[in-house]
């Protein structure tokens, strides 16, 4: 039992980390909650489903095309909606509200095109999974953990060692100073959207092979990512991983004592505890200063 829960936590933690990472990259450069990230996430397995089932492409090619498509979709949300809004000097709340609208549109387009029922890539054969430390793990689940670990290192390397990564960190810490230093802020933000959407697409495709897909899968996944980001600290890659795994462990081991239908509630209670004892917010700091 313990080992099985450990394996489940590892799998959930890997997925949460990927989503948290993508969300965090976008959030730290743009400073607003990109809710439509949830729809970009959901779109990827549906693109893959479309390419492989409707267009009859081989699975590998479909997945590659799907990841490309959802990455482009993520970049389109930035180019078509957020960038014009930013240029008008809109506040982060306006961007947040428009991203909610965008999420609703995209999610319903997916619902309308594919139906609200669960879609699956898995064909008839149910694989039993391999024995591993007294628990069971399927090859796909091993894949999830490995791919996530690789992507984590990949992202860390990009932000640390490439020019674009440095630019991203500069925009995250002070957009004005970054602009003054000759960094193209818009291009950097677009890059963050590209990388973030790419990660979300991969995470969603991986999970769709494990537990299938529904048009609303994204919102829940994104919320877990957001919780992980807030636990771990915005803009930090190790933080995203720490938050993701902490959340996954708490949820999965919580099942031991509490029935599994409370998993969402557990996640959000953890979030509230963190917000209570470590409240963030840009205004937050400033106002506390005034109070002093």
């Amino acid at each position: 039992m313990f080992n099985q829960l450990l394996i489940n936590s590892m799998i959930a933690g890997s997925i949460y980390t990927l989503i948290a990472l993508g969300f965090s990259l976008i959030y730290s450069t743009t400073k607003f909650f990109h809710f439509a990230h949830a729809a970009v996430y959901t779109s990827c397995p549906y693109f893959a489903y479309f390419y492989s089932i409707y267009c009859g492409l081989p699975l590998g090619a479909s997945i590659a095309l799907a990841i490309l498509s959802s990455t482009v979709l993520g970049m389109c949300t930035e180019l078509a909606i957020y960038k014009p809004l930013r240029q008008k000097g809109s506040s982060s709340l306006v961007l947040l509200l428009s991203s909610l609208g965008l999420y609703i549109i995209l999610q319903n387009v997916i619902s309308m095109s594919f139906g609200d029922d669960t879609k699956t890539f898995r064909s008839g054969i149910v694989t039993e999974g391999l024995e591993f430390m007294g628990g069971r793990i399927t090859p796909i689940q091993i894949g999830i953990i490995l791919v996530s670990a690789l992507l984590l290192v990949f992202c860390w390397a990009i932000t640390k060692y490439t020019k674009m990564g440095t630019a991203m960190r500069a925009v995250a810490s002070d957009p004005e100073l970054a602009t003054v230093s000759g960094i193209d802020t818009d291009r950097t933000i677009l890059f963050a959207f590209m990388l973030g959407s790419f990660l979300a697409g991969i995470a969603a495709t991986l999970i769709s092979f494990d537990i299938d897909m529904t048009p609303t899968m994204g919102m829940n996944a994104l919320m877990m990512g957001v919780v992980a980001v807030i636990i771990g600290g915005v803009g930090s890659i190790p933080g995203a991983a720490l938050g993701g795994f902490l959340l996954a462990f708490a949820q999965n081991f919580g099942v031991w004592k509490i029935s599994s239908q409370w998993q969402d509630a557990i996640a959000f209670i953890i979030l509230l505890v963190f917000l209570l004892f470590r409240p963030y917010g840009f205004f937050g700091k400033k106002i506390r200063k005034v109070e002093v």
Partner: protein, 303 residues
């Protein structure tokens, strides 16, 4: 005819909820996505009291207000310590937690099966059974809510709310206890929303958790924003617009399954459109601007 009355009743119920949310989002600048939860608390309180104890509506609706207000009070303090985006996320969290309780505490709330057979309210021995009677019932509460909230936002209290919305630090520097004002307004907003929930429970006579999801909260927020933040009439216009227009889809012969999605795409699209071109909504005065001193200085320099 009943169909038209049905839509007007729904507009009435949503107007009440949207006006109460406008008090938070439009007048005070607190974008809460937990409003469907309070609406749901009103509905559940009313339904449970009516079903289990057979109490009349003039007990049940105030009871809903009370329960919703108490829950809001408990939630207010942790939520209001956060700002802007984080406030949205915190209210999101409470929305999910309250929804989980409605959905999972089966012995009390009936879980996903909901609570069927809520009896119709009785006034002076007369049962509110027809659509027309129910419309007057809802209208009465709608007018009361409008008068109450209208009075509130025009009072000195309301002006402090607007000051908090425009510049919180400034309001503080005038010696206003901003936190106290915010908590009060959060409680009033939640309590008022519960009236809408109670009416909904009585009207449909069946409730289940799917009516009180976060998407429903976002729908309410869209009504407020599209109608106009910081204007109560705007919320009524918004409710009418967002409920009436999608009904047209039915008449052009769109199948029900697609019509539901189209309705959501319609208001999602409107939300994006308004944010792009008219963030203050149709009749509103608040454009969700950030009132950072640095920003406004920049804006004046650019101008």
């Amino acid at each position: 005819m009943d169909y038209l009355l049905h839509i007007i009743i729904m507009v009435g119920i949503y107007s009440i909820v949207a006006m109460s949310l406008n008090l938070l989002a439009g007048y005070t600048g607190l974008i809460s996505v937990a409003h469907a939860a309070f609406y749901g608390i009103g509905a559940y309180t009313t339904a449970l009291l009516a079903l289990k104890f057979g109490l009349p509506f003039w007990v049940n609706i105030p009871a809903g207000i009370l329960v919703s207000g108490v829950v809001a009070f408990l939630i207010a303090w942790p939520s209001l310590r956060t700002y802007d985006d984080y406030f949205v996320i915190t209210t999101f969290a409470f929305q999910i937690i309250i929804f989980s309780i409605m959905n999972n505490w089966v012995s009390f709330t009936g879980g996903p099966l909901g609570l069927p057979g809520i009896p119709q309210p009785t006034i002076f021995g007369m049962t509110v059974s027809t659509h027309l009677l129910f419309l007057s019932f809802v209208a009465a509460f709608g007018v009361l809510t409008y008068l109450f909230l209208g009075r509130l936002v025009d009072s000195p209290f309301g002006r402090v709310l607007k000051a908090i919305r425009e510049d919180e630090i400034f309001a503080m520097s005038l010696g206003k206890d901003v936190m106290k004002y915010k908590i009060t307004v959060f409680v009033i907003g939640a309590a008022t929303a519960s009236i809408g929930g109670s009416l909904y429970a009585y009207y449909i006579s069946f409730i289940d958790p799917t009516s009180f999801t976060v998407m429903e909260s976002i729908f309410m927020l869209s009504i407020v924003i599209i109608g106009g933040a910081g204007n109560l009439k705007g919320s009524i216009v918004g409710a009418a617009l967002l409920i009436f227009i999608p009904e047209i889809l039915r008449f052009v012969g769109m199948p029900n399954s697609i019509a539901a999605n189209m309705r959501q795409i319609f208001y999602g699209g409107l939300l994006v459109f308004f944010m792009m071109f008219r963030p203050q909504g149709l009749l509103g005065e608040f454009a969700f601007g950030k009132h950072d001193h640095k920003d406004s200085k920049e804006a004046s320099e650019n101008a």
